[in-house]
């Protein structure tokens, strides 16, 4: 479904601030794979997401979605088959527009936008049903502006908007990191539910090792722009946070740098 071949990305090349973003990334995702990515700050997790979604262009390498090279497609064209949820709950929705208008824009993802009405009676009913699956009562506040919703509600809505058109690839970039623990748990459960319902091929970045172990069928650890550990479905079932940290120490010969990763 998704294939990265020898992808390299260097920031500020040729200056004293030169920094390796991604180095020789090889990654293949089968349809329906749900891969969680962990790694300390600056490991290249977000860079990887940005390269796949088209925000950043890699210096070298190939990127294939469904066997088609998409590197020359700009970000907005790639979003036809890539759904995204960002870390910032404010980033995934338009605050001055209503819930139904936000849903309508998300629904138009894989169509050509025209001068048809953005919202029809039929599409409204469809959106109502979709929003009911969130169990947040948002279906009763359909004409409320999204800016009035709480961070958790906005993130749940973002998740629904990113997924209900069933994109080929779903990218989740620490989408629970900015929420309080109970809201984060809610979004985590919704993620599990939605991904399995549509069988979405998913890449999820997280700082939370336990979350990375609990969710998905495959786990990847990144450090300094490289994939240093790739755990398949069978071994992942026996994985614990302690084992992960040991594994990191064994590979890198040093302790994991991020306090945040340890604490969570």
């Amino acid at each position: 479904m998704l294939q990265l071949k020898s992808v390299h990305k260097i920031f500020n090349e040729g200056t004293p601030d030169e920094k390796i973003g991604l180095s020789n990334i090889q990654l293949v995702l089968e349809p329906g794979d749900f891969v969680t990515i962990i790694g300390s700050n600056g490991a290249g997790k977000s860079t990887l997401m940005n390269v796949i979604s088209g925000v950043l262009y890699p210096d070298m390498g190939e990127l294939l979605i469904k066997g088609k090279n998409v590197l020359n497609l700009p970000e907005h064209k790639r979003s036809r088959f890539i759904g995204r949820v960002f870390q910032d709950p404010m980033a995934g929705t338009a605050p001055t527009m209503t819930i139904e208008e936000n849903l309508a824009m998300a629904y138009a993802r894989n169509k050509r936008r025209s001068l048809r009405r953005g919202l029809t009676k039929k599409s409204r009913e469809f959106f109502q049903e979709a929003v009911k699956t969130l169990h947040l009562g948002l279906e009763n506040r359909f004409t409320a502006k999204v800016g009035l919703l709480s961070g958790g509600e906005r993130q749940a809505l973002s998740l629904l908007m990113a997924t209900f058109t069933e994109p080929d690839i779903l990218l989740l970039d620490e989408h629970t990191a900015a929420l309080d623990p109970s809201r984060a748990a809610l979004i985590t459960n919704l993620t599990r539910e939605i991904v399995s319902k549509h069988g979405l091929t998913t890449l999820m970045v997280t700082h939370n090792m336990q979350q990375a172990i609990d969710l998905g069928n495959r786990l990847i650890m990144m450090d300094k722009g490289q994939i240093i550990l790739d755990v398949d479905e069978k071994s992942k079932k026996q994985l614990t946070v302690e084992r992960l940290l040991e594994e990191f120490k064994r590979i890198r010969g040093e302790k994991m740098a991020s306090d945040r990763a340890l604490l969570s």
């Binding site: 700009p74 907005h76 979003s79 527009m97 208008e101 138009a108 009405r117 919202l119």
Partner: protein, 339 residues
């Protein structure tokens, strides 16, 4: 009374320009100074075409198309040239100054005296309908007979045109493309992740905005009887004043409400100016200063009022708290755990 009526007339025409400014300033969140130039472009093209004997309605539409192109160019400067929004507008405005002079054949003023304009045609058509007589009879009957306008035609037909544009804008902003344009001004990153090309949407939005501005410019030139190369100076501020006054007075609950507010804001602005100029101290040349002051006031006053309200609320809460403390004494103090 007569000054009031002519501010109603020009107000509904300037409202079209204000709708254009609303589109760029509020919907796209793009402070577009092209307006100062594209307003004149609309005026210059329509006036030149009319003087050369073309149909005034077609001349007006030609002016509007030129405005559309000017707006698109500003959008391209910003999106493809990566120039800051304010600067791309200013660059376009300066460039248009020379272009407008070229359109007017290097004259700074093109008079339309004695030419057939859209308004002489409208007035002619209107007088055949004979509505003026009936309306004026009503006003004479209630004792307002002395200060009646020459014709109601311009006001009524322009009000209809402006409302039609308003409804077209409301409809457009609810289409799939319109929703995407609104999201472009609201959250670019989000709408890009839903496969919308924010660059071309910005270009389209600025084009439409300046088309409305140039349309208003073409009409104002025919209404006033001349096109002048300096008639656009400060137009963006007038547009902003209309948008801000309208929003403050009439609210922005929905798109339809907001566009109506902008139209009414433009009319209210004209009325304020008419009254300000009645004050003997002011000269006609003080117009821009008054406009600037109106905008400053309407930007600052609401904040001051909010701050004052907030202070009053806090003072009240403090007082309530103090009273509660006096009543309950120590009960309110935090429970201490341990010694």
């Amino acid at each position: 009374m007569f000054a009031l009526f002519s501010s109603l007339e020009s107000g509904v025409i300037y409202a079209i320009m204000a709708l254009g400014v609303y589109l760029s300033f509020r919907i796209l969140d793009f402070p577009d100074l092209t307006v100062d130039g594209s307003f004149v472009t609309g005026a210059a093209i329509s006036a030149t075409l009319i003087v050369n004997g073309h149909n005034p309605f077609l001349a007006t539409i030609a002016g509007m198309l030129a405005g559309f192109i000017a707006g698109c160019l500003t959008g391209i400067l910003h999106t493809k040239g990566k120039i800051n929004p304010l600067l791309s507008g200013i660059l376009m405005m300066i460039a248009l100054y020379s272009i407008n002079l070229r359109i007017m054949d290097q004259r700074s003023n093109v008079p339309l005296l004695g030419e057939d304009t859209s308004f002489t045609l409208i007035t002619g058509f209107w007088q055949k309908l004979g509505i003026d007589g009936a309306v004026n009879n009503v006003f004479t009957a209630i004792g307002l007979g002395e200060s009646l306008p020459k014709t109601w035609g311009i006001f009524i037909i322009m009000a209809i045109v402006t409302l039609l544009i308003k409804f077209a804008a409301d409809w457009f902003l609810r289409t799939e493309v319109g929703l995407a344009i609104r999201a472009t001004g609201d959250n670019k990153r989000m709408i890009r992740s839903f496969s919308a090309n924010t660059d071309s949407l910005t270009v389209l939005g600025l084009g439409l905005s300046n088309a409305l501005v140039a349309f208003a410019g073409a009409l104002i030139a025919q209404y006033g009887g001349f096109a002048d190369v300096g008639m656009g100076i400060g137009m963006i501020i007038i547009g902003l004043a209309s948008v801000i006054i309208g929003e403050a007075l009439f609210g922005t609950k929905s798109i339809g409400r907001a566009t109506l507010a902008v139209i009414l804001g433009a009319v209210v602005y004209r009325i304020i100016i008419a009254f300000a100029l009645q004050i003997e101290f002011f000269e006609t040349g003080d117009l821009k200063l008054i406009t600037a002051l109106i905008v400053v006031c309407s930007l600052v006053l609401p904040k001051l009022l909010d701050a004052r309200k907030e202070q009053a609320r806090k003072a009240k809460r403090r007082q309530l708290h103090r009273q509660a403390l006096e009543r309950k004494g120590e009960e309110i103090a935090a429970t201490k755990i341990g010694s």
